[in-house]
Symmetry: D2
Subunit: 312 residues, 4 copies
């Protein structure tokens, strides 16, 4: 029989009555597996709070002073616009994720999440590794020092995938060899012969590439989740973390629709403009032709400014 | 009509079906006000997770390695004993509290809680201040540099309470005077005459003593809640914060009974023994009479060691 | 003789040789007391790192990829503009502050600072309280629900100051009465007669208004310090916390001049523009007259937008 | 010429005068590389504070109440014993570390450190991977579900090292192939011919095993450093992280000798005893033979208890 640590089966847990705030649209997603990449997933486990919980916390804070003057949606938009972030900490979400190690290493930098990760010291890792789709197999970007440029040629892509697949399969076979038996046999606790003296799991695993999948329970409050989505759903983020951020964004939109709408307006599709850019805009609106370099914008800033406002 | 920011009325919110883990005993407490001190309270607003959620997170972490070998209660005890604290972060609780400012100043030092506090900049503060019961009106302790000693004489207690009450009432009356009208009138937005020119709320409030009540929404994960209770339900903690820690302990016991039992055994009624104390114990168990001072115990440590183990 | 907990005397500590990064301009400030409000201060105790330390940390992170392409100042500006915040965590500053309790209550919400505060449970508090200068004694703002409006009349100001001063002095006298003797006598440990039975310090202090001064050591990394300054040096922050933020800004400008310059350009004098505002700007730059309400800007947002860009 | 991101050369930086607290013994270590494992290191970059800084922060906190009664060393021991942890946050240390990815993944779980890690998205990773010494090549422990047991046979060890070395070298050669040229050529920016179309660095790196080295700047306060050392210098920690914890312990002992001594006495060589163990000890000291199982100790707890106190 399968453990909870394995790929979960979509099964709606039984319902029970509760006096807590509930979000019917999100309840539908509990236990549902959102597939991500070739073997990964995001699966909703639990949540706490809703749009109304944010309003409630803000009202205790700003007290009677805010009574009557703002309806709930307006208050949420006001809070998000002015970065009054503490009410958004009042909601929590918990998901079960399966993700490649190199993605996990980026996600973990969000220090205010709580994490319980599958341990390769205790348990045998699964024979699952990430193999990029040829459609996302880009060259190193020339413009952006960290991103991807155009997709490489089909011939080159085939060569790369051969290398990745061959090395990952060989690494796993050697992992099993070092453990002294097949992963399946070890997990069921079958006896190994003497000729199969295994080394410790914590050592054997060091042979596996960072393309292998790990999994964890990940809990985060809404404020930090929005920061995560803003950072990782960004076009500059690596594609493989972006798809996880997008799955989380899907859940967030169902969970707190008013918050998500405000988040799009004031964060995702908003922009921070520097002192120099604000000056340039004021000058343009007066009908002048400001000298962007003289205002202090770097070459890159000038290009981005022009593109943002369609100036050529 | 009353706002949520006012003293709440005990009213069981309506129930809705949920697929999330629920704790029936804790559901009963949602919306129930636990009175603390003369005007304070702790009221459960929401929670996330249960004993089983901790087991589930630990199992993904320690994986198949822990399968079959430990039943749930045993795993919880093992985790708490060995300070594997991350699974306990997977549960959250949210309460509405009313508490004196000087207590709030201590509670806020628990930096990993989320807080939305009533703001004296926006809203007029309530005419409620803490007046100690004569039964807890102790003298400065001679033994303990920060604690309380014996209760003072009834005559002295009456004098102290007169001072506290008189000053608090006068401070509030002057607070209203500075605001330019009665708190009630201000809250209902009644017009003030010109002769009652009010100063800003953020300034008028500086006249109020730290015995006045404030209130907030306070959300914390179970790991940090247990640390809070261990620190603040301790006999060395100030009485007025201890009673809040005890109300929270009551909720915790209902919420996660297995965790709470382990917490008592491995934390609340456990003890950390120093290298020197361990040496002294080994010596005693060999039937020797160790020289505690020579082992490096300070005078205070010697006294505590003897008391702990009933050595005179 | 004075303790370190008392108001410090300006005395340049002796110098010693170090291999750590040093900032000569900031070394001059070590031990210097910057006065704030009537009895408060900010005094630099220690610091770690400089502009160059940020560059160094960023270079290990972005590695050879950033070599040659950016000089140091440009890299700092790039990091701050793109909110690559972790290199700014590599610098730390530690100050000794004296500040009114109601200000301390706001400062402490910056949860990522480390604090050691003077304890009213152990020690007798000083007879020092904040009394606003009549020049900052404003009425409650009508426009802004939490701010101050115009200064009140001289007659009204005099009345308010009388109330604040009288109540604070009475509260302190009663505090001493409850302690069973003058603060000076208690601090020098003089014997009290039996008729002066004192109650515990932790209780007597509850009579003191939040205008009384406390003090603490406060340590924070540069990333969180910049967030603090951005939030608290803002015109919407209460005047009494703003002056502390400004003293810290003075130190920061001496400490990391390149960072501070970038901070002004990309944070302090920058602005976050919403999706709707960006649309409005694009429309204006095309020579159109956008309907701001139809774009989704609230009345308040419309007013702020027009003011920011000088559109009447 | 070498970048700061490469293995550093031991070079004592020039000295400058400072008014900050300095620790001469630690100054000697600035820029010195402590080798760890086969290619790793810990190198001190900067520090802030000393033993005296902890005393100073504690004194402001506990104020005049602690004056005269405790000398500095005694106060430090008292603070550490009673887990008054905030004064220890007043000191910071910053190191440059080179460590295998699988170790980095454990270290990063210390969420209150600040980290800037070498990025495989921007830069080409070095051809350095960890190969265990045969002397530490243990079998999976039977007793401990995550540890290592006895060292495997020389023949088996040779086989394992052949697998690890062969796979790592092949993975790196393929990494270079995917990048479209040798790492050296890429780093110096040499042109690649068309036949060597490289894929993005962020993708090519997914082929490298977690035995490869990464590096980072790591900054942490003393309180969290002590927690890290207690957790990771423990015999139950994986050998490969323990050696890093030990290098950090070496620096800590030089830095804050009074704190380190207290840390050994009250933490490293101390023990937390459960309610049940305390009861058993009291019973033993009364000359009785307590039934450990009846008191509630699990089989494992009974064994550990007996071993700790030499009972059999």
């Amino acid at each position: 029989m399968k453990e909870s640590a394995d790929t979960p089966v979509d099964a709606a847990p039984a319902t029970a009555p509760t006096r807590r705030p509930t979000v019917p649209a999100l309840e539908e997603m509990i236990g549902v597996t959102l597939p991500v990449l070739d073997h990964g997933f995001v699966r909703l486990v639990d949540y706490m709070g809703d749009d109304q919980a944010i309003v409630q916390a803000a009202r205790v804070s700003y007290g009677r002073g805010t009574r009557r003057v703002r309806e709930d949606r307006g208050l949420i938009r006001y809070l998000l616009r002015h970065q009054h972030t503490t009410p958004f900490e009042m909601c929590e979400i918990k998901v079960h994720m399966k993700l490649p190690i190199f993605v996990a290493r980026q996600v973990i930098r969000t220090r205010l999440a709580s994490v319980n990760e599958y341990s390769g010291r205790y348990s045998v890792l699964d024979r699952e590794f990430y193999l990029p789709d040829p459609a996302v197999l880009g060259a190193q970007s020339a413009a952006n020092r960290q991103g991807r440029g155009d997709v490489v040629s089909p011939k080159r892509a085939a060569h790369v995938l051969d290398l990745l697949k061959g090395d990952a399969e060989r690494a796993y076979a050697h992992y099993e060899d070092m453990l002294g038996g097949s992963a399946e046999a070890l997990q069921t606790g079958e006896e190994r012969g003497e000729e199969h003296e295994g080394i410790a799991r914590e050592l054997a695993r060091i042979n596996l590439p960072v393309s292998f999948y790990t999994q964890w329970y990940w809990k985060i409050d809404l404020h930090n989740l929005l920061r995560f989505i803003a950072l990782r759903a960004d076009p500059h983020a690596q594609y493989e973390i972006r798809v996880y951020a997008e799955a989380l964004a899907t859940l967030t939109r169902l969970w707190v629709p008013d918050v998500y709408e405000a988040f799009v307006d004031y964060r995702l599709e908003a922009a921070g403009l520097s002192r120099m850019e604000l000056e340039a805009l004021r000058s343009l609106l007066r009908g002048e032709q400001p000298d962007l370099a003289a205002l202090g914008l770097s070459a890159r800033e000038q290009a981005e400014f022009k593109q943002r406002f369609g100036l050529i």
